[in-house]
Symmetry: C2
Subunit: 362 residues, 2 copies
Amino acid sequence: MSQRKATSDAGRATIRDVAERAGVSVASVSRVLSGNYPVSEELRRRVMKVVRDLDYVTNAHARSLAGGGTPTVAILINNITGAAFAHVAKGVEGAATLRGWLSLVGTTGDDPERELALVNLMRQQGVAAVILLGGAYDYDEYQLRMARFARSLDAAGSHLVLVGRPPLEGDVPATTVDYDNEGGAYAMASHLLSAGHRRVLVLPGHAELTTAQGRLRGAQRAFEAYGVPFDPGMVRHGPYDYEHGYEAVEAALHDTPDFTAVLAGTDVVAAGAMQALRAAGLRVPEDVSIVGYDDIPLASQLTPQLTTVHVPYEEMGRVALRAVADRREGGAGRRKSADGDHLVLGTHVVVRNSVRPPGRHG
Amino acid sequence: MSQRKATSDAGRATIRDVAERAGVSVASVSRVLSGNYPVSEELRRRVMKVVRDLDYVTNAHARSLAGGGTPTVAILINNITGAAFAHVAKGVEGAATLRGWLSLVGTTGDDPERELALVNLMRQQGVAAVILLGGAYDYDEYQLRMARFARSLDAAGSHLVLVGRPPLEGDVPATTVDYDNEGGAYAMASHLLSAGHRRVLVLPGHAELTTAQGRLRGAQRAFEAYGVPFDPGMVRHGPYDYEHGYEAVEAALHDTPDFTAVLAGTDVVAAGAMQALRAAGLRVPEDVSIVGYDDIPLASQLTPQLTTVHVPYEEMGRVALRAVADRREGGAGRRKSADGDHLVLGTHVVVRNSVRPPGRHG
DNA sequence: ACCCGTGCGGAAACCGTATCCCATGGTTAC
DNA sequence: GTAACCATGGGATACGGTTTCCGCACGGGT
C-alpha cells in the first residue's frame, strides 16, 4: 500500500512501479532502459525482469518533456487518397523509421483554416519538422501565410519543409524539396510535338495551382521552341481528377474538335480524358494521342499504357526527411545556409503506348 | 533577467514567459487558455495579447502529462499506397478531426516485427486506440500475437481495433469493425452465375490472407447454391496487385483456357487481368467478363467500367473511431459489452459494364 | 457597522522521466 | 597504510503544464 498508488491500479505502470517492485531507485531503472550509463549485470537483470512482467513501456510524453524523446515529423497532406501524395508520405515514413523517428500524418482537405489548426497542433507536439505536401494555391495571402508558418515553427525549434511546390520568396526559414516540374512538361510537350502533333488540348489543372502553372509554362516553352503557335483556346483548367479530364475532353470535342493529342496535367486526368474519347468513338492512340504526368501506378495500368512524366515522389519524401535530419544534426552550425534550402529533383518522360503520330486530322 | 531563463531564449515560449510578461500568475494563464474557470475580461485581454505577441502554443507533452491533452488514435497500415486503406484512414481521420482528436499513421510493410515495434511505440504515446487496418495473415501465431496486443493496450488504458479482418477468438479486449466480405463475394459470384457463366477463373488473393479466404468461401457457396461444380483448378492465389492479375490470367489462358469470366479478389487484380486478356486478343466483356472487389475509384475508371463489390471503407473508418469514442465516454460503465465489440457493415454489388453472358465458349 | 458569500488570483503539488550531484565501497597507487 | 580513484547506485531537481487549495477583497444583507 504505497502512499501514491498501488501498482495494480488501472492505467499504465510507471517507472516508479518498476523501481519499487525491483527494489531499486527510479534513476536506476531509467539508466537500465536508456542504457547510457554503466549498470551492473545484476541490476539490469532484476529490472528487465520486472519490466517484462509489468509489460512496461516508457511514457513518451514524460520522456520528451524531460528532454529525451523520439524526434517526430508531421506530414500535412491535402487528401490522403491522392496516389502521388501517398508515395511521398511513404518515402518520408520509410526514411523516418530508418532513423527511429516517428511520423504523423494530417489531412487538410484543401482548407486553409484546417491547415493553420494543424500546423499549430504540430507545433504543440513539438515536432522536428512540418512537411507540407503538394502544389499550393498561389493566392495573394499565400506567401505571407507560409512565411508566418515558417517563422513560427523556426522560433519553436521546428522547421517547415515544402515538398512539390516552389520555394518561398524572401528570407524565410524553410526548406523546399521540388522537382523539375516545368522541365518535365517541356519534355512531355516536346515529345508530342516531335511526333508531329500541332493541335494539342492542354489540361494543366487549376489555374491558381503552382503545379499547374509550371506545367503550362513548360508546355508553352516547348511550343515556342518548336515554332508552333500556342493557342490559348486549347487550354482548359480544372481540378486534378478523373471527372475533369472527362468533361474537358467532352467540351473540347464540341468546341475545338481538331486536336490530335491531349496533354493532361495528371495521369488521373488523362484517364478521364481517355474515357471521354472512347465514349465519343475515338481510338487512343490511333485517333488521338494522350500523355499524362506523375507516373503513378495507374499510368501503366491503363489501356493503352500511358506515356507520362515520371516524378520521383518517394525519393522526394526521403530527401525531405534527410534534409530535416541533416539540419538537426548540423545544429546551429550554419545558420542561413542560403543554398541547400532548395533541392530540385529531376523528372523524365516515360514512353509507353499512348502516343502516335497524328492520323485523324493531320 | 529571470533566474530561470530569458523570454527571448531559443526554443518555444513557456506558460511562465506569458505569465511573467502579462504580470499575472501561471495559473491565470492556464485558466484563460483552457477556459474552464471564471476569469475577468481584463485578465483575458491582457493574457491573450501576450499569447499572440509571443505566438505561444501549449506544450502537448506537458499537457498530456498533467492529465489533459488531446486524445490520439493510431492507424497502422500495411502499405499507405493501397487505395482501400487510404479510404479507411480518411474516414478515421475525418471523424477524429471532427472531435478534435489527433491521428497518427504508421506503416508496417507487412513486417510483424515492425508491427510489434509500432504497437509499442503507440503505447508509449499513450494513444486512445490502435487501429489495425486490412486483412490479416492467419498464421498460427497470429491469434496469440493479437491477443497479447489487445491485453497490453487494454492494460495501458488504450484499446485495439481491428478493421477489415475477422474478430479475435476467445475473450479478448478488442473491437472489430468488419464488412460482409463473404456475402459480397457470394453476391458477386451469383451475379456471374446468373449471367450464365459456368467456367470462372477465381483470383481470391493470398491463401493465408483472411480477406482472400472469405472471398473464396463466398464464391464457393454461390456455386453450390447454383448447383454448379466448383473446380479448384480454376483458383489461383497470389498477392493483391496488378502483376498478379496479369500473370494469373496469362497462365490460366495456357492451362485452362475455357473460362468465360474472371472473379478477381480486388479491383487492381481485375485491372491486371483485363490487361492480360487484351494482350491475348480477347475482348472484355464480349469474350470474357470480369468482376472485381472493393470498388475503389479505379473500378469506374477502367474501360469497360468494372462491375465490382462496394465496400464502405470510409464509413468503416468512421465507425471504428466512433466505437473508440463511445467506449471512452462510456468509461467503465459497461465492462465486457460482449456485443458491440463486433460491428459488421454491409456490402453490395455495383453493376457496371464488365459483365456479359458468356459468348466465347458457351 | 458587522458578517458572510462570492469571485478571482496566487502558491504549491503533481504528472512520469532523465540527469546532475553526491555517497559508498572496493581498487589501485604511492 | 592511507589517499586518490573508479564504478555504481540513490536522492533531488527540472521539464511545462493543470489543478487543488487558500486567501484576499469586495459587496450586499441585516
